[in-house]
């Protein structure tokens, strides 16, 4: 019975996703491949980040509002270890590690940052943890902004994409010539979705394991976990590290998608987008955020087209206002009709935090 309802949920999520993509083609008679690619790249990167957040919140019940900083640590550490140019003057640094070595260190750095942030914060519960994480994320962002000699500050880092694009398979270039999209973004998109595939398989394995079960027990009641002889703090730290590592990977992909990286990328809004995606997709699920992400980005990117159609002679400013109003209304509708997200189970509705 449960599996039947479950597959219905999948069918619903799939149809809604396909409908959303169809809508993109419908609303953009010209240049659709470019727009769809852009959409899927962002959806993949943000979806990956939301999968990491789900380890924190959905599995372990940790109210993490500093997710952007984990993405940021991953991105900055990886980029700074590779050849790049940074700052106002564009100082060129030609020495550095190859991409995969830098990426590995970047992901580990993000995990360790999760551990570092977790050590003092993890004994806090619920909203207190939320306050600490959002503050830590802001401190990270401001530090990156002020350490201009290393991170390039507000001028950012440039000239690093080649480190990754040199691995681009040639079929992407052929396709991009035919379909008129950016080949480098195509490669980032593919990398993002391959990452999602691997992370989902990895988490599926963990979810049904004693470790995943222990995290869920922490989510339900920490005191009871302690009373059963389990070290709840260590379990929470492990969860923090795993989710932060996944976020770090998505941060690196985000940096390669933008082509230049400034501290302003990691403002709290990024965290809230990821939260919205996770809740839309289904808190506590593994694949939910993927669907949530695609639908979220269709809503974000196509509402201005919709606003444009609705109001023929509106100017840009007016459209922007209507657009975010539409975003709010659409997300509200989704949450009213599916409060547990696209794939979430009603019995595990997870939005009440202790």
């Amino acid at each position: 019975m449960i599996t039947k309802r479950f597959s219905l949920q999948y069918i619903f999520a799939f149809s809604l996703t396909i409908f959303s993509i169809y809508l993109v083609f419908f609303l953009n008679p010209e240049g659709a491949p470019r727009i769809v690619l852009n959409l899927f790249t962002f959806a993949g990167i943000y979806g990956l980040s939301a999968i990491g957040l789900n380890v924190h919140f959905g599995w372990t019940g940790l109210l993490n509002f500093g997710h952007a900083s984990f993405m940021g640590v991953g991105a900055y550490v990886t980029l700074l270890l590779m050849p790049h140019a940074a700052g106002r003057e564009g100082v060129v640094i030609t020495t550095g590690l190859p991409f995969f070595a830098a990426l590995t260190i970047g992901i580990i750095a993000a995990s360790l940052f999760g551990l570092l942030l977790g050590l003092p914060a993890i004994r806090l519960r619920g909203d207190y943890l939320a306050i600490v994480t959002i503050a830590a994320a802001e401190i990270f962002r401001l530090l990156v902004r002020d350490l201009e000699s290393i991170t390039g500050g507000v001028y950012g880092i440039i000239n690093y994409t080649e480190n990754f694009q040199r691995y681009r398979p040639s079929f992407i270039d052929d396709l991009s010539d035919n379909l008129d999209f950016s080949a480098s973004q195509g490669w980032v998109c593919i990398a993002a979705w391959i990452s999602i595939l691997f992370i989902v398989l990895f988490l599926k394995r963990l979810n049904n394991s004693p470790w995943g079960r222990a995290l869920r027990a922490v989510r339900e009641d920490e005191d009871a976990v302690r009373a059963m002889g389990k070290n709840a703090v260590w379990l929470k730290l492990q969860s923090f590290m795993l989710g932060a590592g996944i976020a770090g990977l998505s941060g690196v992909l985000l940096a390669f998608n933008y082509g230049s990286l400034e501290s302003t990328v990691f403002i709290p809004l990024l965290t809230f987008y990821v939260w919205a995606i996770m809740i839309l997709g289904g808190v506590g699920t593994i694949t939910g955020p993927i669907f949530g992400s695609i639908i979220f980005w269709v809503i974000i990117s196509e509402t201005d087209r919709l606003a444009y159609i609705l109001f023929e002679n509106a100017n840009g400013q007016q459209l922007a206002g209507v657009r975010f109003l539409l975003v709010g209304v659409l997300i509200m509708f989704l949450m009213i009709f599916r409060p547990n997200g696209l794939l979430g189970k009603k019995e595990e509705l997870l939005l009440d935090v202790k």
Binding site: P210, G212, A217, G229
Partner: protein
């Protein structure tokens, strides 16, 4: 010679100006079924929190066998074989009854991240034996038919049973039960009482806080009475029944 399993010396805890627990000396003997009673606010639950590590004492020591466990982490105390339940049941609501038991019974190695990634065969074997054990306990407690339900779908009494099941799946030496009969219907209370008695007969040292005096008198081998944090009486049920201090604490002093 009788064996002191837990002993408490000069244990003190205050909240603001209010003295919650102030016990000079108290020992619990291996295998004995002891009840702690006392009026509301007597410090019974705080006393449990202190010996199980959920609160730190202001001063004083708690010994489990020869080990000083004052200010130890709760999970470490639990691993030494002293498992507690809570006054307000703390089941894992959004996990199934089976998962509740598997988590509680699983040892720390089995829970480890690396083992869970590699999913070794030994883990599968261990989980299988755990499952059999969980099934056996659930059937004994008549919650076997609820194995695949979410714990939050259970009735209040069933949750008490689940908490009890979770506490005994680890084969504890000492069981601290905080009001195991609270909010339970009389029939189920009977069942829980006979279960507690059976656990005691099987050799588990049971210490229980309970308000149901009738039940306490019926099954306890020894009763400890707390009032305003201090020990006012300690003895067999028949001694306690006639103890003047106890009668005063419960009914108030007479004017004469």
């Amino acid at each position: 010679m009788l064996n002191n399993l837990i002993s408490v010396k000069n244990l003190k805890k205050s909240f603001g100006g209010i003295k919650a627990v102030d016990v000079q000396e108290l020992s619990f003997i291996e295998g004995e079924l002891t009840s702690i009673i006392g009026p509301n606010g007597a410090g019974k639950t705080t006393f449990f929190d202190l010996i199980s590590g959920f609160q730190n004492a202001d001063s004083g020591d708690v010994f489990l066998k020869a080990n000083n466990i004052s200010n130890s982490q709760p999970y470490k105390i639990a691993r030494m074989g002293m498992v507690r339940t809570f006054q307000l049941t703390k089941v894992f609501d959004r996990m199934t009854v089976m998962e509740n038991l598997l988590f509680s019974g699983s040892n720390v190695n089995n829970d480890s991240f690396l083992r869970s990634i590699f999913k070794l065969n030994s883990q599968k074997v261990y989980e299988k034996s755990l499952k059999d054990k969980a099934n056996e306990i659930m059937n004994n407690l008549n919650i076997g038919h609820m194995a695949d339900s979410y714990a939050r779908e259970l009735s209040g009494g069933q949750k008490k049973l689940l908490e009890l099941a979770r506490a005994i799946i680890n084969d504890p030496e000492i069981l601290l039960l905080d009001e195991p009969l609270a909010g339970v219907n009389p029939k189920l209370a009977e069942d829980i009482l006979s279960l507690i008695k059976k656990l005691s007969e099987d050799g588990i040292t049971v210490i229980m806080v309970e308000h149901n005096i009738e039940a306490v008198m019926k099954i306890s081998e020894r009763i400890v009475v707390l009032a305003e944090g201090s020990l006012i009486a300690d003895g067999s049920p028949s001694e306690i029944r006639t103890n003047n201090n106890v009668i005063e604490a419960y009914l108030g002093k007479s004017d004469e």
